[in-house]
């Protein structure tokens, strides 16, 4: 986890081409729009079957502390397989999802995209920053930002998301809920 540890130099010979960087950007932008439009079934189409989403809850700890801000065994906002994410999203399709009607208005903003080689030959480690802006009802507004680390895989069907970690900055989520994905 590069957020906790000093980053190791990767000695891989591959370098992302301009075309690949462009394709990755377009994938992330399209994905953001699908989330904004709450088209979750289409969003899931961008994932490989082994996709996992991990969004740990950060802890405020001293620098001298042996534990990091983000640790895998702790409570998390998300630590889900693809099928578990689909279960979560299935609730929003119910007409009885009262708190989603009228719907929340979403903008997912993606920036600071870097494409680096990953360990597996057909995979790329993609860093980005994501910011979610939500507005609900009359005047409710929530912001949440985080650093993403995605694994993006080249497949016969094009680029697919194979894994995602999001390191959000809020230790206390400054909202009553978080009703979208990052």
């Amino acid at each position: 986890m590069s957020v906790n540890a000093v980053e190791q130099a990767v000695a891989a010979p591959r370098r992302a081409s301009l075309q690949l960087v462009h394709d990755v950007q377009q994938l992330l932008y399209r994905e953001a729009r699908l989330l904004d439009e709450q088209r979750y079934d289409d969003w899931f189409e961008l994932m490989e079957d082994d996709f996992r989403l991990w969004i740990p809850v950060p802890q405020s700890r001293y620098r001298r502390d042996g534990q990091g801000i983000y640790e895998p065994r702790r409570m998390a906002h998300f630590d889900d397989s693809l099928s578990e994410l689909k279960l979560r999203a299935s609730r929003w399709k119910e007409t009885t999802a009262w708190s989603e009607d009228p719907p929340t208005r979403h903008v997912h903003y993606v920036t600071n995209i870097e494409v680096e080689p990953a360990e597996a030959a057909a995979e790329w480690l993609v860093h980005s920053v994501v910011i979610s802006l939500r507005n609900r009802n009359e005047d409710e507004e929530n912001w949440l930002g985080g650093r993403r680390e995605d694994v993006i895989r080249e497949t016969a069907a094009g680029l697919k998301l194979a894994g995602r970690k999001v390191f959000v900055t809020q230790s206390v989520l400054m909202a009553k809920n978080f009703n979208t994905f990052l």
Binding site: I55, V57, Q59, S60, R61, Y62, D65, G66, Q67, E71, R73, R74, M75, A76, H77, F78, D79, D80, E84, L87, R88, S90, R91, W92, E94, T95, T96, A97, W98, S99, E100, S171, V172, L173, M174, A175, K176, N177, F178, N179
Partner: protein
Amino acid sequence: MADILQAKPAPPAATLDYHRLVDVENGWIDRRIFWDEGIYQLELERIFARCWVFVGHESQFAAPGDFVTTYIGQDAVIAAKDRQGAINVFLNSCSHRGNRVCFAEAGNTRRFTCNFHGWAFGLDGGLLGVHEEEQYSACATFDKSKLGLHRARVGIYKGLVFATFDAEAPSLDEYLGDYRYYLDVLLDNDASGTEFIEGNVKSRLGCNWKFAAENFVGDAYHAGWTHASAAAAIFKKDVKVNIERSYQANVNGHGTEFGLDLIGNAMGLAEPEVVEYLKENEARFAERLGKLRSRMVGAMSSSNVFPNLAYLTGFNTWRTWTPKGPHEIELHTWVLVNKDMPERLKEAYRRGVSRTFSPTGMFESDDGENWEHCTRSNAGVVTRRQKLHYGLGMDSRMEHEEFPGAVHRVQLNDANQRAFYRRWADLMSAASWADVSDRSGATR
């Protein structure tokens, strides 16, 4: 300006008639208790600075020097384990200029040193030393033994660590009283004892703390409606309460509403292993808890320990509603497991709670919406004059051969909520603990 000068001042909150604001005999509640700043300030004095408030679980203090920071009401506190193995709770505010002395939420340390002038405090809150200490050699009022951080009383019940700032408060055992029978459903169903899974989820809600507490103390009624979408997604059917075999019980404002269905809540985790575990171990639970209570271990239920500690059997989530003002709370969510559960099962609870009862969870995201708007609507002066109806199950009191406290028929009931508010009114009206009525078995 003249209007302001001539306006009649509102009565000080201490002189209000709390048993009229909270009319439990007839089941009506005055909305001002969810909005008024003066009432809120008195709650900090008479509820939070007086009751036993949950600060952590013993498993968070494995080694000497382990600490967490938390709040008792709006008083920031540190809970730390010392070299003798005792857990101490004291104010997180320097005795010199009042600065916060610990900014981490958890960790391990030998001392807490203030950033401002280097005053250093030990694991029991005592003052160990200060920067440039020799300058104080001629200072008659500089007595290190009297300049420690103000300490709370600490009590532990089966792993749960509580603290109170009130020297007159009854012992923790007396404070929990017969409610311990219900707490043991989760705290003592296994010989290995319990632990918290590491970390927690923290979130802010724009609601009065009592809406959250009353929801858990006895609002089974909302589950079938508010959570209809989550139930449809997970169970593929509606939530139905068993009218014949479900209850509410309360003791001094603590309360639980429950069925005897063993797995009703646990099914909601959508983790089949948890349900299997409960079924396989029912007989073993019964050896410790008796047959009836063994049926509660994962049952459809919710509970709140007065004032602001809540939990759900089956999901095994424990949470606190910490007030941040009359219209805001911070919600902390933990997961409790039996120590000797297999790791896979602990993982199932950890991930299951995130998916259900956390801010991203399928159930919880609907709750916050309700509580916020139950609170915010009271900004309206005319709205605030309209009393709220808490009259369900007025004549549901029953005697039960085993269940202690005031027991009521049927989970769908406002009885526990009335009992919660009666306790609240008792404390708000009382100048000291000696004036607080015993409500260990007395609600309609």
